[in-house]
């Protein structure tokens, strides 16, 4: 059998990649980056980097970057809550997770955005859990019925209870790490087991241009020491917080990611790091950051190519839309983004369900996007030679009446070769009318209800539930919060 090729998209020539990296090295060494965290500054000083104490500007030599690159793993193995199913983050493996940390949810009935609460988060987790093509969970919604102070730990607390999938999350405060780490350890049983089988990825966003805030830097250090993969989320906005050219933004992107990677490696040599981001093409007319812009996707695809060139696992915010409702724009931006992402081999693709410049999640969109993800996976599975010969035997003694429906070859292969989406409309016009002239959003809404009704949540055992509750309650108490919302199923 002839080997199947994995379809790929590469936007940059090798010469351009190398030039971008060279300029990034030059900036790191000559201009440096701002690091607003004392512990990181200490680590950098100990590594004999030049630190300007008054401005907290650090100059990082290319030699240190190269050393740190060589100690960063090229593959990360994540495990589900039970520690059984393994997911490889690296090479050309791709995993979708819902776009993270939305502040609102699109209410299907009123078609209005509203703040999300505990019940919405539970539904979101339970739904994501059942969507086949969304491999990872993300703490995709912020719950407005708890104070902001604990919204980072609270979303992970709910996520770990209602989902078995590995989870993409992150801290909103320096103190948030401890309870979140404790919860992950509680799931695994010990710190050692958490290092051996990571369950969560923590996002850390540098502030463009070229600044690592105290909070995100602390997250990098804490995660590195705990063996938790850090996903570096550089997010330049072309012409606003990064150079206007795509190649120029890529230079800044590399500087920010490599400086983050150095901090991780200095905190713990061999710490898992993901070369990621959420940059955007800045819309000069509206002053907005469209995630569905083709230029945004080009930046994402290109930095992922650079990440691969550096032999690192990659991440991007793709497969999402800026539309406010589930309309054509929501579908096409998500579709194009998902296809570009998988062809670029981005390992962790955060986006499904998300709309309105990363601010809103929609359960209906999540269901629709799951099917987009399914098609994207099918695309990269490529075209295979299934049989020897391919097909010429099927034509032996063919007549004008020959058809392929009843051939064993058809029954054997059709489900491998073709996928069958659920909410995408493939009915005849008459049957579609008979079914009530529904839009894809109507069907997705019914699918959300069906999934939630038919699939009770996968709760962990009672001891673990209690342990998680204990950690959450203690964290809330430390923040002066005496009670947490009741969880209704």
């Amino acid at each position: 059998m002839i080997k199947t090729i994995r379809p790929k998209l590469e936007l940059l020539s090798r010469d351009l990649i190398q030039k971008i990296i060279e300029e990034a090295y030059d900036i790191l060494e000559k201009q440096g980056v701002f690091v607003e965290n004392q512990e990181a500054l200490k680590l950098l000083r100990e590594a004999e980097m030049k630190v300007d104490e008054s401005t907290q500007r650090v100059h990082i030599t290319s030699q240190l970057v190269k050393d740190c690159l060589s100690s960063t793993p090229s593959i990360i193995r994540l495990y589900d809550r039970a520690g059984e199913r393994e997911f490889i983050v690296g090479e050309d493996h791709v995993h979708f997770d819902p776009g993270s940390a939305a502040v609102t949810i699109l209410d299907h009935k009123t078609v209005e955005q509203r703040k999300a609460s505990t019940g919405d988060l539970v539904k979101f987790y339970c739904l994501t859990e059942c969507l086949e093509y969304i491999h990872f969970q993300s703490t995709g919604l912020i719950s407005s019925d708890v104070p902001d102070l604990i919204s980072d730990s609270y979303r992970l607390y709910l996520g770990l209870q209602f989902s078995k999938k590995p989870v993409v999350t992150g801290t909103f405060r320096v103190e948030g790490f401890k309870p979140m780490f404790d919860m992950l350890v509680a799931v695994r049983g010990s710190e050692k087991e958490l290092v051996e089988k990571p369950l969560a990825i923590f996002d850390a966003c540098p502030s463009p241009p070229l600044k690592w805030s105290n909070l995100t830097t602390q997250s990098l250090i804490d995660c590195a020491r705990a063996g938790i993969p850090s996903e570096l989320i550089s997010m330049g906005m072309t012409g606003a917080t990064s150079p206007v050219t795509i190649a120029g933004t890529l230079v800044q992107h590399v500087v920010e990611n490599l400086s983050g990677l150095v901090i991780c490696q200095l905190a713990k040599k061999g710490a898992p790091v993901i070369f990621g981001g959420s940059p955007s093409s800045f819309d000069m007319r509206k002053g907005t950051t469209p995630m569905g812009a083709i230029e945004t996707m080009m930046i994402d695809s290109a930095y992922a190519q650079i990440g691969k060139y550096l032999n690192l696992p990659t991440h991007a915010y793709m497969g999402l839309s800026d539309s406010k409702i589930n309309d054509s724009q929501a579908g096409f931006e998500t579709g194009i983004g998902a296809i570009v992402a998988v062809l670029s081999g981005v390992n962790v693709i955060s986006g499904p369900g998300m709309m309105d410049f990363e601010s809103c999640q929609s359960l209906e969109k999540l269901v629709i996007d799951n099917e987009i993800c399914g098609m994207a996976y099918r695309l990269i599975d490529g075209i295979s030679q299934r049989d020897e010969p391919i097909a010429k035997n099927l034509f032996e003694g063919f007549t004008p009446d020959t058809q392929f429906l009843s051939m064993p070859h058809t029954r054997k292969w059709y489900r491998e070769e073709h996928i069958f989406p659920k909410v995408v409309d493939r009915d005849t016009y008459d049957y579609w009318v008979y079914l009530g002239k529904k839009s894809i959003t109507d069907r997705a809404s019914e699918e959300v209800e069906r999934i939630l009704q038919e699939n009770p949540p996968h709760l962990p055992d009672e001891a673990l539930q209690k342990e998680l509750q204990k950690i959450m309650t203690a964290d809330a108490k430390n923040c002066g919060i005496s009670s947490l919302p009741e969880i209704k199923l």
Binding site: D401, Q403, L405, S406, P408, T410, R411, Y414, F420, T428, Y429, D430, Y431
Partner: protein
């Protein structure tokens, strides 16, 4: 093999679409002198019914439907001459003349409908594709058919369905045969407009439509 075991195996062969197995089980049934109508009733029919259920549940798609129907057909091909020799009537729910109307050479949909009707116990006379309208009528009269099924895939040839019904009226045969229409451009409204007795969206619905017309 005792007969119960053979019934089970036949049912399984039909569900799994294993044509060779269905055929060899049929031959074995003949060799063992089993009551062939019992084999059909207790082996083949439950098999094809299960296939229909799996289709309704959305687990089986067209390839499973048609391969299973072909298994049924393969077994029946073995039984028919034996039943005829022994002068035993096979139970038929009705006689159906089917074909794609003149000017239209598309017949995959029609073949599916024919296979499913046949697998569900109807006697199907398939005239093929590009069939002259007169021939549908002649054959139906000669065979004393219960149903005429007219397939058309093109918007141009679907007019043939209308013409065929007009011809039946001219010959005072309208009402003697139930007429069903199908094909990609055809819909219920068209069926109503031209005075057809039934319309089916797909092969499984065609079986239901025919059964429903019998009950009426």
């Amino acid at each position: 093999m005792d007969k119960e075991e053979l019934f089970d195996k036949m049912e399984k062969a039909i569900i799994e679409g294993d044509k060779e197995e269905a055929e060899s089980l049929a031959k074995e049934a003949v060799k063992e002198n089993l009551d062939l109508n019992e084999v059909i009733e207790k082996g083949c029919v439950p098999g094809i019914q299960k296939v229909g259920d799996l289709w309704e549940k959305g687990e089986y798609f067209l390839p499973e439907l048609i391969t299973s129907a072909e298994c049924m057909k393969a077994a029946m091909e073995v039984f028919k001459p034996e039943l005829k020799k022994a002068n035993i009537e096979t139970r038929s729910y009705g006689k159906i003349v089917i074909g794609t109307v003149e000017g239209d050479i598309h017949d995959i949909g029609k073949n599916l409908v024919a296979s499913m009707l046949s697998a569900n116990g109807f006697e199907v006379i398939d005239l093929g594709a590009d069939v002259k309208l007169e021939k549908f009528i002649e054959k139906s009269e000669a065979e004393n058919a219960d149903f005429i099924c007219l397939s058309a895939l093109l918007t141009t040839t679907m007019l043939g369905q209308k013409k065929a019904i007009e011809m039946l009226k001219e010959k005072n045969l309208f009402g003697r045969f139930k007429v069903l229409v199908g094909g990609a451009p055809v819909n219920q409204k068209w069926a109503n407009d031209i005075g057809a007795d039934g319309y089916a969206e797909n092969a499984m619905i065609a079986v239901k439509a025919v059964k429903k017309l019998i009950e009426e």
